[in-house]
Structure formats: structure tokens, C-alpha cells
Amino acid sequence: MQWETVIGLEIHTQLATKSKIFSGASTAYGAEPNTQACIVDLGFPGVLPVLNESAVDMALKFGVAVDAEIASRSVFARKNYFYPDLPKGYQISQFELPIVGKGSLTIDLEDGSRKVIGITRAHLEEDAGKSLHEDFHGMSGIDLNRTGTPLLEIVSEPDMRSIKEAVAYARRIHQLVVYLGICDGNMQEGSFRIDANLSIRPFGQEAFGTRTELKNINSFRFMERALNFERERQIDLIEGGGKVVQETRLYDADRDETRSMRSKEEANDYRYFPDPDLLPVEITDQRLQSAKQGMPELPDQKRQRFESAYSLSQADALMLTQSRQQADFFENVVASGGDAKMAANWVTAELAGALNKAGLELSQSPVTAERLGGLLTRIADNTISGKLAKQVFEAMWNGEGDADEVIQAKGLKQITDSAQIESIIDEIIAANPKQVEQFRAGKEKLLGFFVGQVMKQTQGKANPGQVNQILLGKLRA
């Protein structure tokens, strides 16, 4: 039997606000446990939540970016359940009336085609704390620093029909929220967490199969592995005569498997009801307009602009706009004098390769955009050859200064003085009469030999174009 996969995703993005969604405590990551939780986060008797308006603004930006319906009135609701890292015994979330309604996002598939994925809703909520079950000898540690960090939970329609589509969609959402500046996108720190609902059905069948929900996916690589594992598990189950049980499953990256967390029957009754401590969020037309005006350039717009303004190929433009950071880096290289096409190559190939090898992020690059621009300028104005440019780049990477300093220090400046090149060529012709004779007899392949001799003599600094031209002139004479 041929099985079709159906996937929908729920993505929790931590919003990049300075303070928490309902308190003034800092959201910075990595502080000592329980040092960034104030009495409001700790759910002390008598405390009350006050909404951080910048979280609302960030949710609006997302809504505008996915062309969604924005609710003029949305409501915070309490999701009630007991857990030690949930201090109030309820999470403040949005239930019936979320701030962002139906929208959509277009993804690029490997075969170059595009697909529209429906977004059901996106709602604001507060994050819970963390339970630490190791290192406490039979007890659990609770760190409430994360408690109250604003989250935007983005829920998709079950529109994805393959694991590749699901990964492409997740990456696209990731790209978008980072572009919008509303999430730092750091998956290791939990800023971007994916829950996936997956089911299978025979091709051609309209009704959905029973789905399972996979939690705890915190990298795209794991996402692909987790979904693959789960898809195979469901196929084996059904083909073996069994049934998929609706349940929540946890992905264990170490063992590369999913295992049951709780079944539908064990699921909590969250007893949602509107939070009486908070007023409904009213979005005026004016506020929505100002959100629209404050939108940064989105990936698609940027890609189109790169194609037209820099005459880049679609592939280059797509690659460069993969992340806002890379696109900005590229534009800074161009602004510092680099030729656009050359800059695209250097950023996506040479620099990306070096970073990858060193295991560094673009933000940690030892070669700044300005310095890379400086290097490309020297290629363009013939100060150095493209070949030597790689040496200069390496030196710049190792912190030996900017392009001009490296060229100066290493004496790599290209020889473009025709008279100088001519005299070197004359010496070489005089020293190799046999080869000259063979060339003139028709063995023109030997041009390479002469060029090599010139480059050897000049340590590669002679301008290759000039060398060719002068050599040919002299040899054919």
C-alpha cells in the first residue's frame, strides 16, 4: 500500500521582548536559576498580570506578514492544570479568540515549485518554567526564570503532505520570525520549538487517519528524523493489523525514537475560561496600520529586489535571503565596494565554507562585511588576482588586518606594468628556445607552460590577462 503523510505543525516561538509578557522581569537566557522570576512570575498570593504591549506588537507583525485576519478584540484565557513549574496552576493563553486568525505562508520545495500552507491561528501565551529531573537525587529542581516569557504559538492547517514539506514550512516560519525581529530563532535555547501532528492515509483516501502529536523537537535535523520514525511506526502498526492511538509522543533524540507520553484519555481537561484579571486586547485600525508601516522587508520581497537591483540569479538571491543576517551581510559587502555577483559568490561559497569548517555563525565571522568588500574592491581594480585573493582572505581570517594591509605586508600587489611583464617574458623566451620553436611549429598548448613560467617568476602576481596578451604577441611574432 502507498501511504500519504499528513502533517500539521504547532510552533512555539519565544518573542524577543526585553521583559516578560505579564511582568517586568527580564527574559534574558542563561541566568542563575530562579533569579529572573519576580513575585508575579512566582504566582504569589495577590499578584496580578499586566500585559506587555510589545508582545502584542510582535504578534501583529507576524499576523501582517502571513496576511492573516487580525482580531480587533482578542481574549486571554486561563488553561488550568497542575505542574510544579507552572506557579499559578494555570497558564495564561488565548483560546477562543486568538489575536491572529487565518493566514497563509508560501514555501519553496526542492523541485523549485511553491506551495501555500494555511495558518489556522497564532495566539499569545506565557511560557512555563523548567523542571530539572537530573542532579537532584530523587527530587526535581524547578527553574522559574522562563516562566512568563512571551510565546506566540503558530498553528498550521494539516496541509503538509510530506516530511520535506513540513521541514520546509518550519524553516520558513523560522526564517520569517527572525526576519521580523520578533524571535531570536535560537533552537538550542528553546526559542523556537516544534510540535508536530502526523497521520497517514492510503493515497486517494479523503478522511484523515488517526494522528499522534510529537513534542520536544528542537532542531530541524531532529524534526526530520522524528517525523520519519513516527511515519514508519504508524505504517508498521497499520500494516501489521494494528491501530494508531491518538496520543502525545515524545521524541528522544539520543535513541532516535518516539515514545508515548499520554493518551487522549489521560489528557487534561484544561477548563479554559476568560482570564478575569486581564481586559480583552483591542486592536485599533490605527495600531494595525502602524504595524503594517513598520514591517521590515520580508524574504520574498528581498529576494525579488536582489534579483532586480543586483542582477543576481534566482538561485543566488534565494540563497542569500535565506537569513536576514546573511542578506544584510551581503548588502554590506556590496556597500563597501564589492561587485554584487562576486559578493554573492564569496558570501555563499568562500565565507560560508570557512564558517562552516570553523563551526562559526555568521555573526561570529572574523572577516567583517566591510573587510570582505575591501578585498573584492582590490580584485575588481586589478590590485590582486582572484587566485591571490584567497590567500588574502585567509590572512584576513587569521586577523592579519584588512585587504590592503595584507596585500602590502605580503607584497601580493599584482604586477600590471607592461614593461616589467615584457622584460620578464623576454627573459623566459630567451631561456627556453626549444619550447619557443615547438610553439611556433604549431604546438600552441605550450602557452600554458610560458604562463606558468611567468607566474613562477612573479610569485603569481603578474596580471594574467596582460601576461597572455604579451606572450601571444611575442611568440607569434
Binding site: F44, P45, G46, V47, L48, V50, N80, P84, P87, I142
Partner: protein, 486 residues
């Protein structure tokens, strides 16, 4: 000294007739002597009180005294007070010392009051007789075999017995007005949102409102002045200007339109209480007011609506008391579930548990529409009744309670009968309207409360209406004979 009002005591303090330290010591001695029997206070803070009185005296000397500077009061133990046990009347919080001050506490402190201690109350403000307190029942100073009402029973008894000049209270379904009525004092529940709820331990967030409990409307105006106003820490607190409540107290009532809802004078109302209320209304007519019969057709829905909305909210509000971070924790829990079950099972009293269970049920999947959602709809109907009524009248009057104070233990076995004691007060909470209870003519030596409900943010008007009555009557001046053996 203790029989004087805030106005009189404030004048005497500023005139140097006695110091705040002397006044504070006087009240501390009364507490010492009388409260063993009444049980109005859970915690006394004598050292802190004397420090505050000392600063008040300094301010008075420097001519920086306000109306409340140096006046000894008690705070209901529902308000968080930094460094002082804040129990909310519960075993659950018997060990809880708040790390911060409620906005009400902070504002009254800034206004210069001296806090003598924390007043007894029904556990988590759930009760109408002060009998659900972990710290034992409060006795009614007028008859110690009777209840003082609740949930602000300790505050009401303390003011009635002159253990403090005034007190703070909170009112979710009548918890200021009902005990004020049963103890013969003046108690004002402001408009929802008039006073910040920050630091006031939540019972039912959409209904809870703090207010003053005093000997007179004039004193209530002074206390409310300090308590009211916008607070950025409470999203439901109104950003409305606070008028000068004292300046309009003496305004004429000529032409005032008083609505008498026929539903508040029907079955269940004690005839003697009804007669006392009728006499009070005749007095208003003599003062130039006009009486209009009105109807609040959905009044009968108030109690059932309340007993869905309030428990639903409380079931969620009280989830934080789980034995994990603060408050009561059971001995040697086996595992997490055992920790939750026993900490909550042992830490909460019967009435609190009853309401948590009712509320949890009302919010459950499959019952939400039939209970919670339906209650929200009937709540709207109740509000609309008032909206229509206030198109015809300026204030609404009636009895605060159907009877005078009942006996201790009399209604503890029958929660529904107990709940019906709040039949006239609950609707104002559901609608968010301000209401005041002030003493009318007593029945058989027991206080009777006249309730005045006003339109939104018309506290100045109802204080004015109450004060004019108190200028003409002496019911609010009566004091219980505390030496009488019951």
C-alpha cells in the same frame, strides 16, 4: 477617645490634644482587653503600630498631617502586608509572610494611618458568618452568641467594638456590606475597578472589590479617598479621576429619585427589618427625595449566577496553593500527586473545598456551556436590569440583609440558607456597581443595614445620601455594651 470619628480624632491629633502614640496605645489596650473574646484580629502588630504612630506624630508636628495621619485602623487579612503574616483566614497561609504590600496597604500607609493588625475573616473570603476562618469565628459585639457576618467579619466587629477607628474590607458578594449591616457600622463597596486589587488575595477576580468599613459615611469618604485611584499593576483598575468625596457629603437631597425594587421587599424579608427600612425611606422623603417603585426582574437569578461565577474563578485562583512554593505543605509527601492532594486537602477548609469543587465542575468540558456560559449570560441580564433602573432613578435602596445577625452555628450545616443571606448584596457585585450599608433603626437591640446602590463611579453620591441620613439619625452612633455578659 475610642468613640470619636476619624474627623474628630484627626482634628484632636492636629490640635495636639493627644498624640498618635497615645491614641494607638489606647486602642492596643482595648484590643488586649476585649479581643480575646471577640476574636476580631488574627495578628496584632503593636511594635510596628507604635513606629507608625511615632512617624505620624512627627508629621503632625511638622504640619504635614493629612486627614488620616495617625489614625489607628486594622487591615483585613486578605491584604498582603510586607513582613507580616497574611493568612487570608486559612491554614493554607498560616505560615505565609508576604514579601510585599498590597496597593491598598501602601496607599493607606502613605496617607499616614497606623495599622494595629490584621482582621479575622472567612477563609479566603468565602463565607457570610466569619465561621469558616481557620482562626475561629468572630463574635458579634452586639450579641456574642451571634455572628458578625462575613467575610469581613473581623473588620466589622473591630470597628463596631471600637477596637480600631476604621478597617478595610473586601466585598465579592456582600462581604463588606453584610457584616457592616450585622455589626451596625457603615461599609462601602466601591464600583468594580475603583480600588486596586493588587496585593488583595483573589477570591473571584471579576467580583472582588476593596472598600472602607467605618463608623460613618463621613469617615468612609476619607478612607476611600486614600484607597481609590488608578494602579498600573491592576489591569482592571479604572483610570477615572477620583473626586473629593468629602466635599459633596452635605449636598441637598431635594429631588433625589430613590428606586425601591419590589424584589427586595418580598418573601424572606423579616417584617421588622422591612419596617426599619421603610422608616429610613420615610426620612429620605422628609429630606426631599422622591420614592419610585422599580423592578429588577432578574434579581432572583443573582444568587445562582453568583454561585457559578465566583466558584469558577476561585477554583482557578486557588490553584497556586499547591504546597510547592509557599503556604502549607503536607508532611512527607510520597510523590507529586500526594503532595498536591494532601497539601490542598489538609490546608483548605470545608467551604473552600466545596467552592473549588463546584467551580471545577462548572468549568469542565461538557458542563461549561450549561453553567459558566449560562451564568455569564444571566450576569448580563442582571446588569441590564440596573442599567434600565438607573435611567429612572438616582439611587436604589433596600435592606442589606433579610434578617438581623443570626446565631453562631445556626446556618453552618446548610450552605444554601447561608448563601441566601447575601440575596440583596450579590447583584451589585455581578453588575460591578457601588453599594453602601449604613445603620437603620435596630430591631430587638440588633443592628439593621440600609443598603444604597448607586450607578457606576457615583461613590460621591451614595456617600452624600448616606451622610445626610446620618446627620438626621443616631443609629450609627450606637455602641454595643461590651461589658454585658452573654
Amino acid at each position: 477617645m475610642h468613640d470619636q470619628s476619624i474627623v474628630e480624632l484627626g482634628a484632636a491629633l492636629r490640635a495636639g490634644e493627644f498624640s498618635s502614640v497615645e491614641l494607638t496605645r489606647h486602642f492596643m489596650q482595648r484590643v488586649e482587653r476585649l479581643d480575646g473574646d471577640l476574636n476580631a484580629l488574627i495578628t496584632t502588630t503593636p511594635e510596628q503600630a507604635l513606629v507608625e504612630a511615632g512617624s505620624a506624630d512627627q508629621a503632625i508636628k511638622k504640619g504635614q498631617a493629612g486627614a488620616l495621619t495617625g489614625i489607628p485602623i486594622v487591615q483585613k487579612d486578605i491584604f498582603c502586608t510586607r513582613g507580616v503574616k497574611t493568612s487570608c483566614g486559612s491554614k493554607m497561609l498560616d505560615n505565609f509572610v508576604s514579601p510585599y504590600d498590597a496597593t491598598v496597604v501602601e496607599r493607606l500607609r502613605q496617607a499616614g494611618v497606623v495599622c494595629l493588625g490584621k482582621a479575622n475573616m472567612d477563609e479566603f473570603a468565602m463565607g457570610s458568618s466569619n465561621e469558616t476562618s481557620f482562626y475561629g469565628p468572630v463574635r458579634n459585639p452586639w450579641d456574642r452568641e451571634r455572628v458578625p457576618g462575613g467575610s469581613s467579619g473581623g473588620s466589622a466587629a473591630a470597628v463596631a467594638a471600637r477596637l480600631a477607628v476604621a478597617a478595610t474590607g473586601t466585598d465579592t458578594g456582600g462581604s463588606i456590606r453584610q457584616p457592616a449591616a450585622l455589626c451596625g457600622i457603615t461599609g462601602l463597596k466601591p464600583t468594580y475597578g475603583r480600588v486596586s486589587r493588587f496585593g488583595m488575595i483573589a477570591f473571584a477576580s471579576s467580583l472582588d472589590q476593596a472598600g472602607p468599613m467605618t463608623r460613618s459615611a463621613e469617615d468612609a469618604a476619607l478612607l476611600l479617598q486614600a484607597m481609590a485611584g488608578f494602579d498600573p499593576r491592576d489591569s482592571t483598575c479604572a483610570n477615572e479621576t477620583v473626586p473629593d468625596y468629602s466635599s459633596t457629603l452635605r449636598d441637598s437631597l431635594e429631588g433625589l429619585k430613590i428606586g425601591l425594587p419590589r424584589e427586595y421587599f418580598g418573601e424572606g424579608l423579616d417584617p421588622a427589618v422591612a419596617a426599619s427600612i421603610q422608616a429610613a425611606i420615610h426620612l429620605y422623603e422628609r429630606l426631599g427625595a422622591r420614592v419610585i417603585d422599580i423592578s429588577l426582574p432578574n434579581a432572583g437569578l443573582a444568587v445562582p449566577t453568583y454561585y457559578v461565577v465566583a466558584p469558577a474563578e476561585c477554583s482557578s485562583n486557588l490553584s497556586r496553593f499547591d504546597g510547592v512554593r509557599f503556604g502549607y505543605r503536607c508532611e512527607e509527601p510520597k510523590d507529586l500527586e500526594d503532595l498536591y492532594k494532601r497539601s490542598r486537602g489538609e490546608g483548605f477548609g470545608a467551604e473552600v473545598k466545596r467552592r473549588i469543587m463546584i467551580g471545577t465542575y462548572a468549568l469542565s468540558a461538557g458542563y461549561y456551556d450549561a453553567y459558566y456560559l449560562k451564568a455569564q449570560q444571566t450576569r448580563h441580564l442582571i446588569s441590564d436590569d440596573f442599567k434600565q433602573a438607573f435611567e429612572q432613578v438616582d439611587v436604589i435602596m433596600g435592606p442589606t440583609t433579610p434578617t438581623t445577625a443570626f446565631g453562631l452555628g445556626e446556618k453552618m450545616d446548610d450552605p444554601v440558607t447561608m448563601y441566601l443571606n447575601d440575596i440583596y448584596t450579590i447583584a451589585a457585585n455581578l453588575a460591578g456597581l457601588p453599594g453602601i450599608s449604613l445603620p437603620a433603626e435596630p430591631v430587638n437591640g440588633l443592628p439593621v443595614g440600609l443598603q444604597i446602590i448607586g450607578n457606576y463611579f457615583t461613590e460621591a453620591k451614595i456617600l452624600n445620601v448616606a451622610h445626610r441620613f446620618q446627620q438626621e439619625t443616631e443609629w450609627h452612633e450606637l455602641t454595643p455594651d461590651l461589658n454585658k455578659q452573654s
